[in-house]
Homo-oligomer: 189 residues x 2
């Protein structure tokens, strides 16, 4: 007959195992967090999400400016996109705006990134938002935010997003994925 | 007396748990991989590592050009840096070079990223490399590479890197970490 161990020991190990399996770094499931008054909390930790791409002078806050924008997405949504070409519910995308600098150290020309200017956050949640996608803007010191007016962000993403409300036309590693799954719509000029 | 379960069941669960704990997404330990002839293999999956920053026109392959550069580091090395201001052995940094585009869709100005031009890889491994740090260049279709000549990359990183051989002066989220730990050396002009 096999040796047996207490059920309690097994239970502890099993709980440890399942606890690991739902940790953010593992599953990548990072749902949006809200304050008690319903405002979206600043998305702490977004710099450790999956990076999609950057632009210069495409800033949301200053059209034609010289700010860098870096785009990040939660890991679980990224993986869902790779296997479907679509964004799952609870997807969060962050566009981070940073000042650009041109002088310093070995760089004689070109631009590199400096201080944080602000964040834009985009969330897909059809249960929470009647228009499915909602938009929020944060400055570096903003703790929470309420959704922006539909005319401020939603409308432009609706009209110009290559995949649902996202600007996959600017994310070179996601473009071929969306084309393969037939979810890429050529944006109007 | 407590209920008991077979040792075999416990063993299977324990192995599953330890197997999870060493997976790349979990521990972030992603050591460099080498071919049988000792050449470094293309660092597959680097787009899912931790993003550090981007530049425009700071390209290694075309000085003063208009390429974007995106820098990534393996997750375990990133976490070690956050808690020490130093890079552990086996650290791998990748600088990805991408073409920039200016026309398209809603963008009337500014620059966004397009096709992959190449990669630079930097590895810290004092057991393998007599000068501790080694450098490799890849084109998009290069399968493996041998270390670059010391004059090609090593010398410049030695002279201008703000933290060891890394250009933390261009990584705005790591700069304050290095300053806090006293590992940031002001780079010479």
């Amino acid at each position: 007959m096999a040796r047996r161990v207490p059920l309690a020991v097994l239970l502890v190990l099993f709980l440890a195992w399942t606890a690991r399996s739902v940790g953010p770094r593992d599953s990548g499931a990072i749902p949006p967090r809200y304050a008690e008054d319903g405002r979206l909390l600043f998305p702490e930790g977004y710099r450790e999400w999956i990076y999609l791409s950057s632009g210069l002078g495409m800033s949301y806050s200053k059209a034609g400016g010289d700010e860098f924008t870096n785009v990040f997405v939660t890991p679980a949504s990224y993986r869902a996109f790779l296997s479907s070409g679509k964004w799952p519910e609870q997807t969060m995308l962050v566009v981070e705006e940073r000042a650009s600098a041109s002088e310093g150290s070995i760089v004689r020309g070109g631009h590199y990134q400096a201080g944080l200017a602000g964040l834009g956050v985009e969330i897909k949640d059809s249960a929470r938002y009647p228009d499915t996608w909602a938009y929020f803007t944060f400055r570096a010191d903003t703790a929470s935010a309420k959704p922006a007016a539909k005319s401020a962000c939603w409308q432009c993403h609706e009209e110009h997003g290559a995949v649902e409300h996202s600007f996959v036309q600017f994310y070179p590693t996601l473009q071929p994925v969306a084309r393969r799954f037939g979810t890429y719509k050529a944006p109007p000029p």
